[in-house]
């Protein structure tokens, strides 16, 4: 459905409302700008819950800037992260993608001198506000890293690690959580006979799926993935991508990737980042993934996604 102007987009999104009212609105309308549709849906929600989800993104950065000491690495980013959707962050290397995604569960706090300006809302609550329990935020917003980083423990203990943080839990229940998590991360069949063996003996792709299992075992609300496939071969990459489609039924997912095809394949919305002249990274465009890859508004986005840049 080609779109000529932003007014046309609103018209289509209004059309989208009709579909919502007919009860088929769960399918994402790829040609609609998310903000436009959220506005539209807020007028005529299918259900109260859906309306709330549509109006308020699961997470939202508001004029977020991240500094390393005096150096501003990310400038004024306002990025919504919708529930049960995959949000991709793309852009040339060094533009602040990792910095941005790490700010979503305050992993940047671990770096001396790093601090944030602006807000990061999680369910309408600023996670950088004073009095917020960082540990609690990290339990609600899980993270999968660029390189698989299983603990040098058994497969079972890796998955159980986060769960055990909540205190003692009956063995049977823990077994159950471990199995469910491994099944959901599509690893169960490969490891069910060697749960007590070291996780370090798994292949890279298996280790990354184990890290995903470890993250979902604590039932987070959002999963952050910083280039989760960059250290993996194509087969393992495909598995992770399929897995992401499964997981998005339940979670909001944010993925940083420098692989354009991957962003186009897996994500629903895409944020395009670029480095400014002062080396601060800014978000130059945010839209439905299909728009970013077919009709970006910004010339730089077009150059980048078509491979004419970086």
């Amino acid at each position: 459905m080609p779109i000529a102007s932003s007014s046309a987009r609103v018209a289509i999104s209004l059309h989208g409302v009709t579909i919502v009212q007919q009860g088929k609105g769960v399918l994402p309308d790829m040609n609609t700008s998310p903000l436009a549709r959220e506005n539209a849906q807020s007028h005529a929600p299918a259900t109260a819950g859906e309306a709330a989800a549509a109006v308020m993104p699961k997470m939202q950065t508001e004029s977020l800037s991240i500094y390393y000491g005096n150096f501003r690495a990310v400038a004024d980013v306002t990025l919504p992260v919708r529930d049960r959707k995959i949000t991709a962050i793309i852009g040339p290397s060094g533009c602040g993608k990792s910095t941005l995604i790490r700010s979503l569960n305050r992993m940047n706090d671990l770096i001396a001198g790093a601090h944030a300006g602006g807000k990061v809302m999680l369910d309408g609550e600023d996670i950088y506000a004073s009095g917020i329990d960082v540990v609690d935020i990290r339990r609600r917003v899980g993270m999968v890293f660029q390189r698989p980083n299983p603990f040098p423990k058994s497969i079972y203990d890796n998955v159980a690690f986060g769960v055990r943080l909540y205190g003692r839990i009956p063995k049977a229940e823990l077994d159950d959580i471990v199995e469910t998590s491994l099944r959901r991360s599509a690893l169960w069949d490969e490891v069910k006979d060697k749960l007590k063996q070291s996780a370090m003996a798994l292949s890279g792709g298996q280790q990354q799926r184990l890290c995903i299992a470890r993250a979902i075992a604590v039932e987070p609300e959002v999963i952050l993935m910083d280039e989760p496939c960059s250290a993996l071969d194509p087969v393992a990459t495909l598995k992770i991508e399929e897995l992401m489609q499964e997981l998005k039924q339940d979670y909001a997912i944010v993925i940083v990737t420098h692989n354009m095809q991957q962003a186009a394949r897996v994500s629903d919305t895409t944020a395009m980042m670029m480095m400014r002249a002062d080396r601060a990274g800014e978000m130059i465009e945010f839209d439905e993934t299909q728009i970013i890859f077919t009709k970006p508004r910004d010339k730089r986005t077009e150059d980048y996604v078509s491979g004419r840049f970086g």
């Binding site: 992993m107 990290r138 993270m143 890293f145 986060g162 943080l165 370090m200 604590v218």
Partner: protein, 316 residues
């Protein structure tokens, strides 16, 4: 090649005759030959140097091994005959009653080293975590400088320090001896733990913290286990190091002839007993001193081999 192309105008200077060609070829051949000869000469020099150096290093290794082998053989030959069941299960008796055994010294050593370990290992490991996390703070730098100085301190100085602190005005005691040994163990425990923790990739810490683990939980259930083999190796070497210490015990634990486990009284230890027996004009005591030397050597050797085995067998 390029010069001989058809389109080039004939250049008189570049024109060559058959004789010229032969000349240049001869010159080149001679040059090549000289090069080969020179390189062969260098090769010979290299080979000779190589052989000489190899011989020297081999000789040095042999020289270094001689005292070690000599000591081991001597200690085993002189010590083994005295090691009997009685020797290991009895305490001191006068020479007139056969001299007895060294159970009191074995127990004393176990208590001293055990107590020293209990004191130094937790402090060393906790301090290592602090130093790794805060390497450039004033306290972090101070601790590292302090451990370096402490590691280089002669053990008798440590003994003197503990003597003035815990013995003067009170009495010689097992506790004072253990404190002296603990101070000697501390820098080894701290330094090896620190080095091993530094080897643990930061991604593990991020992984644990990213799951919502608090910092202390991350330290003890992820970082320490990941560094465990290295840390254990360090602990064993620290224990081995103080198992043979004598000087700091001379004026702290003092030594004793009775089997005792009281911490507030003097206590025996293997190295001290060895020292005392060896300096007595009595063949029975001399034989016993050699036997004690053998026991200490076996313990230290076992600890070292144990450390190596642990280091080789990466737990996971």
């Amino acid at each position: 090649m390029a010069r001989g192309t058809m389109t080039d105008p004939p250049n008189p200077a570049a024109r060559t005759t058959e004789a010229d060609v032969a000349d240049t070829q001869a010159i080149r051949a001679r040059a090549r030959q000289r090069r080969v000869q020179a390189s062969m000469a260098r090769e010979r020099v290299r080979r000779v140097t190589n052989a000489v150096m190899l011989g020297l290093t081999g000789l040095a290794t042999l020289l270094a091994l001689i005292p070690l082998v000599w000591i081991i053989v001597d200690v085993v030959l002189l010590g083994a005959p005295s090691i009997t069941p009685d020797f290991l299960t009895q305490s001191f008796k006068p020479a007139s009653l056969g001299g007895g055994g060294v159970l009191h010294a074995i127990v004393g050593s176990l208590i001293l080293v055990g107590l020293a370990s209990v004191m130094s290992i937790p402090i060393g490991i906790l301090a290592a975590f602090y130093v790794v996390r805060n390497p450039n703070t004033t306290l972090g730098l101070a601790v590292r400088f302090g451990t370096d100085v402490l590691a280089g301190l002669p053990s008798i100085v440590v003994g003197l320090f503990v003597y003035t602190l815990l013995v003067v005005g009170r009495s010689y005691s097992a506790l004072a001896g253990a404190v002296a040994l603990a101070i000697l163990m501390l820098p080894i425990v701290l330094r090896t733990t620190e080095e091993m923790l530094k080897l643990v990739p930061d991604s593990l810490r991020e992984g644990a913290l990213g799951l919502g683990a608090p910092e202390w939980k991350t330290a003890f259930s992820v970082l320490l286990p990941a560094a465990l083999t290295g840390v254990l190796t360090g602990l064993m070497l620290a224990v081995a190091r103080v198992s043979g210490e004598t000087a700091p015990l001379l004026f702290t634990a003092l030594g004793s002839n009775v089997l005792s486990s009281a911490l507030n009284r003097p206590i025996a230890s293997l190295p001290l007993t060895l020292f005392v027996y060896a300096t007595q004009p009595d063949p029975i005591r001399h034989a016993q001193a050699w036997a004690i030397a053998l026991i200490i050597m076996v313990i230290v050797l076992a600890l070292n081999i144990g450390a190596r085995l642990i280091a080789r067998h990466r737990a996971m």
